[in-house]
């Protein structure tokens, strides 16, 4: 019926184009909102700068300083912050403040919304990673690897880790009952995981075993381990939980979280907030 009305009408723009538009709108909104920038973008950088200057000393048997050990782990925590926390809180806010309802009221393909969110998170995550690497190199003398194989490792750990955390964040956004509670709902598991994954508490090999076991169930521990394998020499391996970088296991756990996160998103995502039932 409406098809007859619309015959000869110009076509609606594609989901990909609209997704790009959404990404620009999302990025503008993100960087203009001070809370979001401070909590998801600046906090990991501040923590790296603070902890890096407080921690002192060189690990025995290597020339790696505490700050240098911390840096790659903080990059992993930064990725989790700009994907998991960023998407979880921003989607909960979108559900609460009427953004999702307005978008659903417009002729927007649902995929355009997710393309916009994921591109936004990707840009913010790359920016965050560059900032953290900059601090580590300038302030803590971390040397960037020259071996392309290490950068390849960096690439796949980054991609799998960011994807796993982004999908988990999108799914977790439905847990928050309101935008106000979303900050707590997302930050609490994040901070706990950052501790038990050996990010704030270094080196990871010194953590009590039960905590390591719990931490190993989640992606952050493996992403941090993957980044350490990129930026630190093998002489630091005795400080790890097992004296190996375990690349195969990292890939396996992160990929499993990608799949699980995707399934959770597809089964739990809600467009409507509390009122819209």
């Amino acid at each position: 019926m409406s098809a007859t009305v619309l015959r000869g009408a110009p076509r609606r723009p594609s989901a990909a184009r609209l997704g790009l538009h959404r990404a620009t709108i999302e990025l503008k909104s993100f960087f203009r909102e001070r809370d979001a920038v401070v909590f998801t973008f600046a906090m990991p950088a501040v923590i790296l700068a603070l902890l890096g200057s407080i921690f002192d000393g060189v690990y025995p048997g290597s020339d790696v300083t505490s700050a240098q050990y911390l840096a790659p782990s903080m990059i992993a925590a930064g990725v989790a912050s700009t994907t998991f926390i960023n998407l979880g809180t921003s989607i909960a806010a979108d559900r609460d403040d009427g953004t999702l309802r307005r978008l659903r009221g417009a002729p927007m393909p649902p995929s355009a919304y997710f393309i916009g969110k994921i591109l936004m998170a990707l840009v913010v995550t790359v920016g965050e990673t560059v900032v953290l690497l900059g601090i580590a190199v300038v302030a803590f003398d971390l040397s960037l690897p020259t071996d392309p194989a290490r950068w390849l490792t960096f690439g796949w750990v980054f991609l799998l880790g960011a994807t796993a955390c982004a999908l988990t964040g999108i799914a977790a956004s439905s847990l928050a009952r309101s935008a106000r509670s979303a900050g707590a709902v997302m930050n609490l598991p994040y901070l706990v995981l950052a501790f038990i994954s050996g990010v704030f508490y270094t080196p990871v090999g010194q953590l009590p075993e039960p905590l390591v076991t719990i931490g190993s169930l989640f992606p952050l521990k493996w992403m941090a381990q993957g980044f350490r394998s990129v930026f630190l020499p093998d002489s630091i391996l005795p400080q790890e939980v097992v004296p190996s970088w375990e690349h195969g296991r990292i890939a396996l756990v992160l990929a499993a979280w990608c799949i699980g996160g995707m399934v959770l998103c597809l089964t739990t995502f809600r467009w409507r907030g509390r009122r819209g039932r």
């Binding site: 409406s2 009305v5 619309l6 609606r12 979108d94 819209g276």
Partner: protein
Amino acid sequence: MTDTPAVRIRGLRKTYGDTVAVAGLDLDVADGEVVALLGPNGAGKTTTIEILEGHRDRDAGEVSVLGHDPARTDLDWRAQIGIVTQDGGDLLELTVREAVGHFAHYYPRHRDPDQAIDLVGLTEKATERVRTLSGGQRRRLDVAIGVVGRPRLLFLDEPTTGFDPQARRQFWALIRRLADEGCTILLSTHYLEEAEALADRVAVIMGGRIVADATPATLGGRATARTVVRWADGRQETDDPAGLIATLTRRYGGTVPGLTVSRPSLEDIYLDLIGDAS
């Protein structure tokens, strides 16, 4: 355009737990018509409108909006509907132009965003952040977004709640312009004067039911209601005011002291209607 009405509702029902929000509601909106859904808070206006928009599920009843069931629609249908909700709090960090311009992208035959902004009188605010707008300006932005896609049918849920009288008059002028452009409009309001000023037809909603549905002039039998004649010593309802006044004139031997002749006001009728139903 077509014989089917833009909106057709039969026996609509919606409950939230024990609360019956909509209790068997019937309503038609013809193509090109401006219909006001008039009722007090909690009458079921928002629930009804959000069901029509496809934003809430219904429990029972037949609903057709532009020929489609809003519970099962596609994006082509969405492109013909404009929505102005009661309580949008989004888009805060964008400028007015960015917000309207972004929503223009979704619609195949959209207006020029600056024209939509001009239509609602926000041109001076075009480069300001939405966060800085007043309540009335914010609603006008919502209308600009609601009409930027050139909808055939526009829903407005209590668009002027919280406006001062002057802002309300300006808003009415805007709605009339949209109606003149041929847009079908269903708006809800709890202001009687607003329904009277804007609507071709007023549907009074109370307790989730339509208790009256007529033009403002004939609502609640207003056109045929008995006339009330008052004078210094009495008051009488009559179908023949001229005859009664002639009798009174004779009795007083000239001018009748304190004579007034009145039909019940729309407000009397409305208060009667919602009083009876509650």
